[in-house]
Symmetry: C2
Subunit: 188 residues, 2 copies
């Protein structure tokens, strides 16, 4: 195990937006590394107020998954409920609102699990993951073009869902493994 | 557990590139869902030949991590060695080349572990994860602006690295948990 401290960050010599759409902003940065090497980097700017992903557990053995159309892949995929933090919300309020919109459930208990990055070399996006428990029925209207398919699976089926279903999203897989580890620690 | 088959995909009524930079292409899609609802979606097109991420193990208990500058976050982060598949390469050749460039090691054995998506609702990117074993010294010149910091950590320290270091990248965390599970299964 190494005792490295963080190295000296490169200096940002210049920075501007190359292109902006409704959802994305592509930035260009001119960087000078601490060894003097200069490079031009491109990145997607991070989304304003952040995002949340919820591991919602109706009981200690099961977890709620969403099966929805994923435009990036033009296919239906399994994932966890998630969404952007709206203006004026903290991550707990956003998590509860998204659960009500996507799953039709509120959570009596929300526990912060971790913060995940997407592709830190190119994307400035971070997502907070919360474990949601003490669920109760409460439906809010969402903005989905069609009803989401809400499924309940055993947390123990994680490997099966990865191998034999469409659970391939790294953030959901990381969140579910971390939840399993957290629950094992809780019962020690 | 549910027996849902995949629902009917929405129809793509129109599709065009809104903006293109050196690294990114933002696409707009006009969709009609099977219930008749029409929506405009934006997405980042998937990267051409794909990408690879390597869980390189010098022995059955340890894994090689990379600490490098991540432009998306403008900070140094821990992750796994990874890179794009070049023209004419398969994922095994790309994995071995990237390991030689980033870690200074070749792999005698490469085992496909899984394919991970990034943010399938918005990004058409997939990454193949391979476990690399039987490592031997072999350095190829990479295109990094400064030398990468190569570290060896116990796979058992995964939770510590997430909690107390800068291991936050969902794909790396998912890959390491899946490797741990695979190794446990192998020893049963």
């Amino acid at each position: 195990m190494s005792g490295h401290s963080r190295p000296q960050k490169p200096q940002i010599l210049a920075q501007h937006v190359l292109a902006r759409s409704r959802l994305f902003a592509i930035e260009e940065m001119q960087l000078r590394f601490s060894n003097g090497v200069e490079r031009t980097y491109e990145r997607l700017a991070g989304g304003g107020r952040g995002a949340v992903m919820m591991v919602a557990m109706p009981d200690p053995e099961h977890v709620i998954l969403i099966r929805e159309y994923a435009g990036g892949l033009h296919d239906y995929c399994l994932s966890l409920p998630k969404g952007l933090v709206d203006a004026g919300e903290d991550i707990y309020q956003a998590a509860n609102r998204e659960l009500k919109e996507e799953v039709g459930m509120g959570a009596g208990t929300l526990e912060f699990l971790t913060e995940l990055t997407l592709a830190p070399n190119y994307i400035g996006h971070k997502m907070s993951v919360l474990i949601a428990r003490d669920l109760y029925p409460c439906q809010l209207e969402g903005d989905e073009p069609e009803p989401l398919i809400v499924e309940t699976h055993p947390l123990a089926a994680l490997e099966h869902l990865i191998l034999h279903d469409t659970l391939q999203e790294a953030r959901a897989i990381a969140a579910l493994y971390m939840t399993r580890t957290r629950l094992q620690q809780d019962t020690l």
